[in-house]
């Protein structure tokens, strides 16, 4: 059973500036995005660990795959600029 995300923390992380507000249920969607992000991070880190014949995910596996993933989520910025 997954833990619930703390809502107030999540809302404060969703916005950097005080004048932006968070609409109803938008934080639930961000919760989903956090889960999807950690899911793909975990899966790719596991693949990386297995490639290196390690049964345990270690810090450097996560570091290695995070570079690709963060670049991927950077695609969010491209279209509207």
């Amino acid at each position: 059973m997954l833990k619930r995300v703390p809502k107030t923390t999540l809302k404060s992380l969703m916005k950097k500036k005080a004048h932006i507000r968070v609409g109803t249920a938008a934080d639930a969607m961000v919760e989903l995005n956090v889960l999807l992000f950690l899911h793909s991070l975990a899966e790719e880190a596991r693949t990386k660990a297995f490639e290196e014949k390690s049964a345990t995910i270690k810090a450097h596996h996560v570091k290695a795959v995070s570079k690709v993933l963060v670049r991927n989520s950077a695609r969010g910025c491209l279209g509207l600029n």
Partner: protein, 116 residues
């Protein structure tokens, strides 16, 4: 941006439990500092993108559709993977109720179906 104390981010227990849940293998404890940093960068970018999408739609409030657009751009939501499927697969019941319209007695639908 800002010191780590000012902006605590998600708790260690939350991040690690979710990561371990999805990893389905042993996870070394030294993974946490790396994850913490990744999540900080992730939320920085997320906040920027959401504010930009909301501003683009001339709103001052981040709405569900902004996050949906973000997930489309991230490649999580596609034509063959609709957002409702992801919601049902990943989110706990309480959050799901906020996002997926359900008919209740008297023909009321909660929440209001989203306009397209």
């Amino acid at each position: 941006t800002g010191s780590a104390k000012k902006d605590p981010g998600l708790s260690k227990s939350y991040i690690m439990s979710v990561f371990k849940h999805f990893a389905k293998t042993k996870v070394s404890t030294d993974v946490y500092p790396v994850l913490k940093e990744i999540m900080e960068r992730y939320f920085d970018r997320l906040a920027d993108d959401l504010e930009m999408f909301a501003a683009h739609a001339k709103r001052k409030t981040i709405e569900v559709e902004d996050v949906e657009l973000l997930m489309r751009r991230q490649g999580f939501v596609t034509d063959s993977m609709p957002v409702n499927v992801l919601i049902e697969k990943y989110l706990p019941m309480e959050s799901r109720k906020l996002l997926i319209p359900v008919a209740t007695s008297g023909n009321y639908v909660i929440p209001k179906p989203r306009r397209k």
